[in-house]
Amino acid sequence: MADTSTSLPTRPAPAPDVDRDRRSAPRLWPRFAVLGLVAVAAVVGVLVWNIPSTPGSRGFWLAVEMRFTTVATILIVACCQAVATVLFHTATNNRILTPSIMGFEAVYVVIQTALVFFFGGAAAAATDGLAKVAIQSLLMVGFATVLYTWLFSGRRGNLHVMLLVGVVLGVGFGSLSSFMQRLLTPSEFDVLSARLFGNLSMSNEAYLPWAALVIAIALGVVWRRRHHLDVIALGRDTATNLGLRYKREVTVLLILTSVLISISTTLVGPMTFFGFIVATLAYQLTGSSQHRHVLPFAFLLSVVTLLGGYFVLRHVFYAAGLLSVIIEFAGGLFFIVHLLRKGAL
């Protein structure tokens, strides 16, 4: 094995990551390129396909502008779900859990249900706006932050206890929601259930720029920590030995996860399995354990899946609203197959 950096004296110094790059680059770059092209094609396809006006006319650009909201929503959701799930897997040292196990989405459901329950369906529809969305996101992030810092940063901090409390609270919120839902009138229940299933084409436009801003900041933080993430994935003891403050790092990761998930959930509603699919595929297709490979790849996969699915459903089956239902169905199947093949949690 002469495959070391010293065997390449012609390479201009200093060359960081010489060995890792050389071994992974030839395998990974084509995959990134292909996936990137498909993602761009999907974006362009959804934007311009099948517009009746002639390209370049005012009507054409108007249609593109209207579709842009959908595309932007999907890009944001794709990014949130992919990155949040990978971060959650790294933080919990586990690749089967999804952030929804921590009860994030149950919090969303309980907020929505309580709104309809206490103020009626009309009030819930009337208060849709930036303020409500922001408050809702803040509540979800607040819930998660309090839970994590309380349970995990304490002296007895233990990830498994925290996960268990998350599951129990999630179930508790779920029961509370279904209790309130039983008491609703059928018409109010209808208004509510329309909100509880993710719908990509019904997002809140005014919220998008803010969501994009928050995500840009979150992604900046994540990218700066990409090497830390690789070390965190080695587990508590090794990460501590290598000089990371493990609890602090993991708490930051969990809070980032909750920010991303809350944005995605407030935009399009709960998506339980989607992040799991793209994260798992990204691990398998990149074959890399480095976050600088896995994170962008999961994001691209996520864009391709969501936008591609949206394109096909909209222009082939004329049923765009069903996308998240189908993704959840396929994702659930994928989850079970993966679980059975792996044989253990």
């Binding site: 094995m1 495959d3 070391t4 950096s5 010293t6 110094a13 200093p14 060359a15 960081p16 990551d17 010489v18 060995d19 890792r20 071994r23 040292n93 586990n94 690749r95 002296r155 990409r226 090497h227 830390h228 690789d230 070390v231 994935a233 080695l234 587990g235 508590r236 003891d237 090794t238 501590t240 030995n241 290598l242 000089g243 990371l244 403050r245 691990y283 074959g287 890399s288 354990s289």
Partner: protein
């Protein structure tokens, strides 16, 4: 030098360690020996800040481990536990490369790669460097983890049973390499070890623990006596002094 003052570790009402006040001299190999449950690993992981002591303070090379930033400590002391679980798919070389993290924060420089190459060569992992960890035997993986700790290039190296899972050849090779690291590079090495004869042959200093307290401490020639070993391990032992090192014979 590593110093412990008034260090205790309790779980509920049970005291598993201490109170311990002792110092481990700088340089050379110090072996922690003792029966199961004597607190050897607890003591080592407390020194390596993986376990929080209930009371007391620990310093390594003058750094108080609770006050020194973790990153700075990671360039002074490294610790390897007995069991290392891993989730991600890593090659041996990638794992060893992580040992450079405290120095380069994840971007390996030429200098870092030199350390990685050295550590890989030191532990005879050249042929395995591109294999994934889950394709290795327990002993090979153990060597890969030790290589990571060596690549970290710290003055103090704490190893919890580094001979676990190693066959005769690799156990001897590992001890020789640790001896070399201590002699040539001036490292201070503290190991928890089960085979008292390895401690006798390679260590400069032996600390024997029983029930969380120091029973005996001193150079191997002093400790390797019938009465001391029988007291510490509570089992009949015969000590032979006909070779280069005293050997304990306790098999039947």
């Amino acid at each position: 030098m590593i110093t412990l003052s008034d260090v205790t570790k309790t779980y509920g009402d049970t005291t598993v360690l201490g109170p311990l006040t002792l110092s481990v001299p700088g340089g050379g190999i110090t072996a922690l020996v003792g029966p199961n449950g004597a607190g050897k690993s607890t003591m080592l992981t407390i020194i390596g800040r993986l376990t929080e002591p209930t009371t007391g303070t620990v310093t390594i090379g003058g750094h108080d481990i609770t006050r020194t930033p973790s990153r700075e400590l990671a360039r002074t002391a490294s610790i390897l536990r007995q069991e290392n679980h891993f989730v991600t798919r890593l090659t041996v070389r990638e794992l060893v490369g992580f040992g450079r993290f405290p120095h380069s924060r994840g971007r390996l420089t030429r200098e870092d790669n030199r350390h990685v190459d050295q550590a890989i060569e030191f532990l005879d992992l050249g042929e395995l460097e591109h294999r994934y960890l889950d394709q290795l035997s327990g002993g090979q993986r153990q060597r890969a983890y030790v290589a990571m700790v060596l690549a970290q290039d710290t003055d103090y190296i704490l190893l919890d049973e580094p001979l676990n899972n190693l066959d005769m050849r690799h156990a001897v090779a590992m001890m020789k390499q640790l001896r070399k690291a201590a002699d040539e590079l001036g490292k201070t090495i503290v190991i928890v070890i089960h085979d008292i004869n390895f401690a006798s042959a390679y260590a400069d200093h032996i600390i024997a623990l029983t029930r969380g307290r120091v029973a005996q401490a001193g150079p191997p020639s002093e400790l390797m006596t019938r009465s001391t070993l029988e007291e510490v391990f509570e089992t009949p032992v015969e000590v032979r002094r006909d070779g280069p090192h005293p050997l304990a014979v306790y098999y039947r």
